[in-house]
């Protein structure tokens, strides 16, 4: 009976601990200089160092979408410009934020959880607390701030590179010219779309960094625990990205 109750209440317990952790991280930021330096360092690690893998994933996403749209839609009834009309909004609305999110859930989420998890099991977090520092604001706030600042930037880069990849393949494969691609993209462009994509990137940035910080911060059980936290951080970030993707689409579109 007690076990069943504990099992039933577990999601609420986790949600409560997660909320308190994030709240605690931001309520007592007392030395702004320290946090500014840490945030800048995290922006480099989370954002700048992720550019190559995000660029690669985005370029291939745009290229493959271009080939598939050409295969599925272009016919005697639809002009080739439809490729631009589909690829550009797909990158802006869905592929840009979600592909970037998945890539970073693995790269950034796992890294954050491994770093904080190792700090936890080697008592480095206890050492920070014992010195009189708020370890959550010192470790977690800069990572979340870096995430919500850099993810939208990476999203913009991913969209540009993805659309660029689509245009490159369209030209190389002889599907359509750059002018036709751009014309197609402009025909169905809605000014709201980039804002929607940016909103997603912002939310995904928060999800990945905060979930991974939670997993890492509460790591227990030595090296095995660090491995478990790292895996859970990547998996749970992806799960929450999918859920948030649907919720945002339903509420904002």
């Amino acid at each position: 009976m007690t076990y069943s109750l504990t099992w039933f209440l577990r999601p609420f317990t986790i949600l409560g601990r997660y909320s308190l952790l994030i709240f605690h991280a931001f309520v007592s930021l007392d030395d702004f200089r320290t946090y500014r330096k840490n945030t800048f360092n995290q922006m480099m690690r989370i954002g700048v160092e992720s550019i190559p893998i995000v660029a690669l994933a985005a370029a291939f996403s745009g290229a493959v979408t271009t080939v598939q749209v050409s295969y599925q839609l272009v016919s005697v009834f639809l002009p080739a410009t439809v490729i631009g009309s589909v690829v550009a909004p797909s990158m802006i609305l869905e592929l840009g934020p979600v592909v970037t999110g998945f890539i970073l859930a693995g790269r950034v989420g796992a890294r954050i959880a491994a770093e904080l998890g190792t700090m936890r099991v080697t008592e480095q977090i206890d050492a920070l607390e014992a010195m009189g520092l708020n370890s959550t604001s010192y470790l977690i706030a800069p990572r979340i701030l870096a995430g919500i600042i850099m993810f939208p930037m990476l999203y913009v880069a991913a969209c540009a590179i993805g659309i660029g990849g689509g245009i490159a393949v369209a030209n190389l494969g002889g599907y359509l010219t750059t002018q036709e691609f751009v014309q197609g993209a402009q025909d169905f462009f809605r000014p709201f779309d980039p804002y929607f994509g940016l909103s997603k990137a912002f939310v995904f940035g928060f999800i990945i960094t905060s979930v991974s910080c939670y997993m890492g911060y509460f790591t227990a059980g030595g090296a095995e625990g660090v491995g478990k936290s790292t895996t859970q951080a990547a998996v749970m970030s992806c799960v929450f990205i999918l859920i948030a993707d649907l919720v945002l689409a339903v509420t904002l579109l």
Partner: protein, 257 residues
């Protein structure tokens, strides 16, 4: 003064501490001894508020550290220097940066003053030339000594040592013991030392607390150990093969002169 009153703590239905009370007056060095897993580290984590007791309270200079605000708790924690069992050095920072970290964070000292203080602290632990090395480049014993340098950097009022001499060679262990004694004598630092090393206990402790079966089973001065008839403590002490008077090994030791 640090006062632990009726501390009870359990993890996953296992009681680690049961109604434990201890007082550590200012200027005293208390050694907490006991077998592995007896709850010694758990006990000292309560002293700095890293763990919250299920029952009981901890008073530091009269303030109940589990009732004060988090901001006040952090202010109280700055009175402490803690040497963790594994050193707990920040592995993204060099040895120098580790020792400088509390100085940079909590003092408005100039870079030159911080450098001078860090060098003094590293000299005290006999590691004057390793400032640029990363923790991963240092041996376990050296990491522990750098961690000790970091713990004393802010000249704390209270120092907690969790196994300060474990993993160190006998000469370095003796030096750490001397350092603890000297801090206690010169700065009137109040210390809690968790250790298995009876040689250290005899060298540095004013008073000894023996934890057994989740309780403080025995307390007394170092001299009292020689006269005790507490069976569990005697077993623990004999297993340490320490030296008393003219005798040289546990097998030869009679604790009832």
């Amino acid at each position: 003064m640090i006062l632990l009153e009726h501390i009870t703590k359990q993890f996953n239905n296992t009681i680690v501490l049961r109604d434990v009370s201890l007082d550590i007056p200012e200027g005293e060095t208390l050694a907490v001894i006991g077998r592995s897993g007896s709850g010694k580290s758990v006990l000292i984590k309560h002293a700095v508020g890293l763990l919250t007791p299920d029952e009981g309270r901890v008073l530091v200079d009269g303030a109940n550290i589990h009732e004060v605000s988090y901001k006040e708790l952090r202010r109280i924690r700055r009175k402490f220097g803690v040497l963790f069992q594994g050193g707990a050095l920040f592995d993204s920072m060099s040895a120098f940066e580790n020792v400088a970290f509390p100085l940079r964070t909590f003092t408005g000292k100039s870079d030159e003053a911080i450098r001078s203080r860090v060098e003094t602290c590293l000299d005290m632990v006999q590691l004057p030339d390793i400032g640029k090395k990363m923790p991963s480049e240092l041996s376990g014993g050296m990491q522990k000594r750098v961690a000790l340098a970091r713990a004393i950097a802010l000249e704390p009022k209270y120092i907690i040592y969790d196994e300060p001499t474990s993993g160190l060679d006998p000469a370095t262990s003796n030096h750490i013991d001397e350092l603890i004694l000297s801090l206690n004598e010169k700065l009137r630092v109040t210390s809690i030392v968790i250790t298995h090393d009876m040689h250290s206990v005899l060298a540095i402790a004013d008073r000894v607390a023996f934890i057994h079966e989740a309780r403080i089973a025995w307390t007394g001065t170092v001299d009292d150990i020689h006269r005790t008839d507490h069976e569990s403590l005697l077993d623990f002490v004999r297993a340490n093969e320490y030296v008393i008077g003219e005798q040289t090994s546990a097998s030869e030791v009679s604790l009832h002169p």
